[in-house]
Symmetry: C2
Subunit: 109 residues, 2 copies
DNA sequence: AGCGTTTATCGTCGATAGGCGATGGGTGCG
DNA sequence: CGCACCCATCGCCTATCGACGATAAACGCT
């Protein structure tokens, strides 16, 4: 049985910045991270299943492994996902709080 | 009194695409358009006031007029805003339906 | 120790983004 | 008609993106 010990400790939702310029900055950063169809697809996949091995994601997408890895890096840099090492593999999963923050920021438009 | 005849004929909200790949594509396109703080600021400004002259926007932002014009073009290409000519000026305003579509798409994450 | 598997990183390449100043086309006014 | 104003576009430059193959690092297993 290969249940990766990945997602459990969910972080709390970060607060929406009070300063408008700061909010714009954060919103732009998150929006940019989702500014590519492959990254949207990856995020959706991580939400649907919870926690995915890179290999599984690569098999779902029409891109090379290295390309997928770079998209994952961008999502991780934006804080939208997290990657936990599970032996030789890495289990990626959504950071629900940050997704919620994104939705909240979009809601302020 | 300088009331530009800009925003009145609001377009209806486009439907959320049923095909997931198509939805991802559209969401990525809209997210990319908002993937820069200046563009977020512009959109917010157009929502706050309704309808803005390019000159006013340029005065608000720390960028050259040509740079602002390019950001406006990207927002327009994504469908988020519209630009109506008002004599020598151009009045930009929000396309509320598309903003609503964006919110709806983000809501599906 | 060595091997296969898995993933991240590197190097490269063309394309795109993002900034600016300068130019040019409309428009209204004198 | 000419002038001033407003804006879009062009050309240029640098930096980043997006894709790939190749390589390297970490791990489990035998």
């Amino acid at each position: 049985m290969k249940k990766p010990p990945c997602c459990p400790p969910a972080e709390p939702t970060p607060p929406v910045p009070t300063d408008e310029a700061e909010a714009n900055e954060r919103l732009a950063q998150l929006a940019k991270a989702l500014g590519h169809p492959a990254r949207v697809a990856i995020l959706r996949m991580l939400v649907r299943e919870q926690g995915c091995i890179v290999g599984d994601i690569t098999r779902e997408l029409p891109f090379a492994q290295s390309t997928v890895s770079q998209h994952l890096k961008q999502l991780k840099d934006a804080g939208l996902i997290r990657g936990d090492v599970d032996g030789p593999r890495v289990c990626y999963c959504v950071e629900p709080g940050v997704v919620a923050l994104f939705k909240a920021l979009v809601g302020t438009l």
